[in-house]
C-alpha cells in the first residue's frame, strides 16, 4: 500500500513534465495550421476550446477558476470589464518580444479599455457594418443608398429591403452605439433622452427585421436567405467566401457605412488565476509572430495588428477594403468606452422591448 502511494506521488512530477496551455477562443477564429505548428515547435500541448458569445466567456472568468490560460475577449464590453474587475494578469512584456511588432496607433485605441495596454495585446480587429447581397437587394430596392446606415435605419428603405430579408445581430452592446452614432449622439451616451431616440429609431424598423442572429449570421447569409445583415465585418467576409465556395451564385459584400462604423478589438489576455501563465505567454508570443499571424488572417479574413504581416497576406484579402479599409474610411471609425452597470441594464431593457415589438 505504502509502495503504491509512493509511486503515485512520483507520478505527479512525471506528468507535470508535459507542458500544456488551455486556450479559450471564439469559434472559427484560428488557423488550424498555427495550432499544429505551436505544438511541434514548443512541445507544449495545446488544449483548444471555443465559445460563441462573450457572455459565456465573461461569466466563466468572473466566477473565477475557469482553468483557461489564454482568452480572447472583445475590447468592449468584456475586456475592459475583466480589466476593471482584476480578472486578468498584467502581461510580462519581457516575455513577449514579438509584441514590439504591434501597430502603435491601434494599440493606442484600445488603451481606453485598458489603461497603458497592461493586460492585453490585439489578436484581430474589425468593424460593425452591413453585409449586402447586391443582386437580391437590387431587385427590391434599386435606388436605396449603399454606403449609408440609411439603408437600414430609414423605415422607407428598410421596408423595401425587408422583402428580401433583413437580419440583425442579437447584440445590444454592438447595435445601440451604432444607432447612437447614426443619430449624431455620443456612442457611449447613457442619457435617457438619447436612448429613447434610439428606441424610436429601432422600433420604426422592427417590422422590417426578419430575424435576430447570434452566431448563425454567417450561415443564413451564405445561404442567401437574407439580403441585408447588420453584423461583424469578418462574419460577412467569411460568409461571402463560403457562398463563393458553394457556387450557387450568392455574392455578398461588406459595407462600413459613411456615418461611422464601430471599431472593435479582440484581445489576447491571460486570466489572473491561469494555471499555466508561462505557457500562456509563450503561446501569445508565438501568435504575434508575423508569419503565424498572417496565416490566421488568411484563414479567418479578419485584419491583425502586426504591420509586418502585410507581405504574407493573400492578395485577394489584402486588397479587400472590407478587411483592410482605406485610410479615409478608417478615419470615420469610432470606438466605444465602458458602459456603467445601470446603463447596461437600461440598454438591455431597451433591446428586449425593441425585439418584442415585432
Amino acid at each position: 500500500m505504502r509502495l503504491l502511494l509512493a509511486f503515485m506521488l512520483m507520478a505527479v512530477p512525471a506528468m507535470a513534465q508535459q507542458r500544456v496551455v488551455n486556450v479559450y477562443n471564439w469559434s472559427d477564429y484560428i488557423d488550424p495550421y498555427a495550432v499544429a505548428r505551436f505544438e511541434r515547435e514548443t512541445g507544449i500541448k495545446l488544449l483548444y476550446d471555443v465559445y460563441d458569445s462573450l457572455e459565456i466567456l465573461e461569466g466563466k472568468l468572473l466566477a473565477g477558476k475557469s482553468g483557461y490560460d489564454v482568452v480572447v475577449p472583445t475590447s468592449e464590453p468584456s475586456f475592459s470589464k475583466l480589466v476593471r474587475s482584476g480578472a486578468l494578469l498584467p502581461l510580462d512584456r519581457a516575455k513577449l518580444p514579438n509584441a514590439a511588432g504591434l501597430d502603435a496607433a491601434l494599440m493606442q485605441q484600445v488603451a481606453t479599455s485598458d489603461p497603458g495596454n497592461a493586460h492585453g495585446v490585439i489578436y484581430l480587429w474589425g468593424t460593425i457594418g452591413l453585409g449586402v447581397n447586391e443582386a437580391r437587394l437590387r431587385a427590391v430596392a434599386p435606388d436605396a443608398p449603399r454606403d449609408s446606415w440609411d439603408l437600414l435605419f430609414k423605415p422607407e428603405w428598410a421596408r423595401k429591403a425587408a422583402r428580401c430579408g433583413i437580419t440583425m445581430m442579437d447584440s445590444a452592446i454592438d447595435v445601440i452605439p451604432t444607432v447612437l452614432k447614426y443619430l449624431g449622439k455620443s456612442p457611449d451616451s447613457a442619457d435617457a433622452g438619447d436612448l429613447a431616440l434610439v428606441e424610436k429609431t429601432l422600433k420604426a424598423i422592427r417590422p422590417a427585421i426578419r430575424s435576430f442572429a447570434s452566431g448563425g449570421a454567417i450561415e443564413t447569409m451564405a445561404a442567401g436567405e437574407t439580403c441585408v445583415v447588420l453584423s461583424y465585418s469578418g462574419d460577412v467576409i467569411q460568409a461571402a467566401a463560403r457562398a463563393e465556395e458553394a457556387g450557387k451564385g450568392v455574392k455578398l459584400r461588406y459595407i462600413a457605412p459613411q456615418e461611422g462604423a464601430q471599431l472593435w478589438f479582440d484581445m489576447l489576455a491571460i486570466p489572473k488565476d491561469a494555471p499555466h501563465p508561462a505557457e500562456a505567454l509563450e503561446f501569445i508570443n508565438f501568435i504575434l509572430r508575423p508569419d503565424v499571424m498572417a496565416g490566421i488572417t488568411n484563414q479567418v479574413r479578419y485584419p491583425n495588428a502586426i504591420p509586418a504581416t502585410a507581405k504574407d497576406i493573400a492578395p485577394d484579402i489584402a486588397g479587400d477594403p472590407g478587411v483592410y479599409p482605406p485610410a479615409e474610411q478608417r478615419a470615420r471609425f469610432f470606438t466605444i468606452g465602458p458602459v456603467p452597470p445601470e446603463a447596461a441594464r437600461a440598454r438591455s431593457r431597451l433591446w428586449a422591448r425593441f425585439k418584442g415589438n415585432g
Binding site: 457572455e55 465573461e58 482584476g86 430575424s211 445561404a223 447596461a344 425585439k355 418584442g356 415585432g358
Partner: protein, 269 residues
C-alpha cells in the same frame, strides 16, 4: 428500512438545498467589479429590485406559456397514454416514447430548425406543392416555440399518466358499463377521475420546467417574447448583476415549489 432513505437525503441536501441556499444568499449581496462580481454589505440586495413591473410581465408571460404547453400536452398526451396503457404492445410503445431521450435536446431542436427554416423541409414541401412561391417565415414565432415545448415535454406527461392508467382497476369500468353507462360516461365518471393523480403529476412535470425554460424559446421562439428564463440570463450576463439574477431565480423557485408542495399535500393517499 429507514436508513435506505439516507442517500436520497444526502443527495437532496448537497445538490438541491445547498445550491438553492447559495443562490438565495447571492441575492442578498450587491454587484461589483471584482471576481466574483459581488460585494457586501448583506442587505436587501437583488430582492430590492424585484418590484420592477418588467419582471412581473416576464413571469406572467412564462406562466402563460407553461399553462398553454401543459394544456396542449394533456390534449395530445392523454389519448396516447390511454392507448399505450390498453395496448398489448405496451412495453414497446413505452420504449418508443422514451427513444427521443437517447439523443441530446439541442440536437433535436436543431432538427426542428431544419424543418421550419426558410429553406427547410416544410417550406420546400410548400414550394414543391405550389402552395407558396415565397418562403413562409415559420421559424422564430410563438407557434414554433410551442411546437418545440410540446415536443420536448410530452413524454413527461405521458409516462406518469400511463403508469396510473395501466394500474387502474379495469373492473370498475366494466361494472360501470354493466350498469348501463355509455363509453363516454365510463370515461368521464370512472376512467378520468381514477387517472387524476397521474394527470396532476404529468401537468406539474411539464409546467414547472417549462416556466423556466430558456433553450427552446431561444432557439425556436420569437425574438421578443419576454420570458423569465431569458430575463434572468440578461440580468446575469448582459447587466452583470448577479444578485438581481439570483433574487429572480430564487423567487421563481419559491413560486414554483410552493404550489407544487400544496398540490402534493392535497393528493389523496
Amino acid at each position: 428500512m429507514r436508513w435506505l432513505l439516507g442517500p436520497s437525503w444526502v443527495w437532496l441536501l448537497l445538490f438541491v438545498a445547498a445550491p438553492a441556499a447559495i443562490l438565495a444568499g447571492i441575492g442578498l449581496l450587491n454587484p461589483a467589479d471584482t471576481v466574483p462580481p459581488l460585494a457586501g454589505p448583506i442587505g436587501l440586495g437583488g430582492y430590492g429590485g424585484l418590484a420592477d413591473p418588467f419582471y412581473l410581465r416576464a413571469c406572467l408571460g412564462s406562466l402563460a406559456v407553461a399553462a398553454v404547453t401543459a394544456a396542449l400536452c394533456l390534449l395530445l398526451g392523454y389519448p396516447m397514454a390511454l392507448a399505450i396503457a390498453r395496448s398489448a404492445r405496451r412495453r414497446l410503445l413505452l420504449l418508443l416514447v422514451m427513444v427521443p431521450f437517447w439523443s441530446g435536446i439541442l440536437l433535436r431542436l436543431i432538427a426542428w430548425i431544419g424543418i421550419f427554416r426558410d429553406e427547410g423541409l416544410l417550406n420546400s414541401a410548400l414550394r414543391a406543392l405550389h402552395l407558396s412561391a415565397e418562403p413562409v417565415p415559420l421559424l422564430h414565432s410563438d407557434a414554433t416555440m410551442l411546437v418545440g415545448m410540446v415536443y420536448c415535454y410530452l413524454p413527461f406527461l405521458i409516462l406518469p399518466l400511463e403508469a396510473r392508467l395501466a394500474t387502474a382497476d379495469r373492473r370498475l369500468e366494466q361494472a360501470a358499463a354493466d350498469l348501463g353507462a355509455g363509453p363516454w360516461q365510463v370515461f368521464r365518471r370512472v376512467t378520468f377521475p381514477l387517472s387524476l393523480p397521474g394527470v396532476r403529476a404529468g401537468l406539474a412535470l411539464v409546467a414547472i420546467p417549462v416556466s423556466g425554460e430558456y433553450v427552446i424559446p431561444e432557439l425556436l421562439g420569437a425574438a421578443g417574447t419576454p420570458l423569465i428564463g431569458r430575463v434572468i440570463w440578461d440580468e446575469f450576463f448582459q447587466s452583470g448583476d448577479w444578485p438581481q439574477a439570483a433574487a429572480l431565480a430564487t423567487t421563481l423557485l419559491a413560486g414554483v415549489l410552493l404550489p407544487a408542495a400544496l398540490l402534493q399535500r392535497r393528493r389523496p393517499r
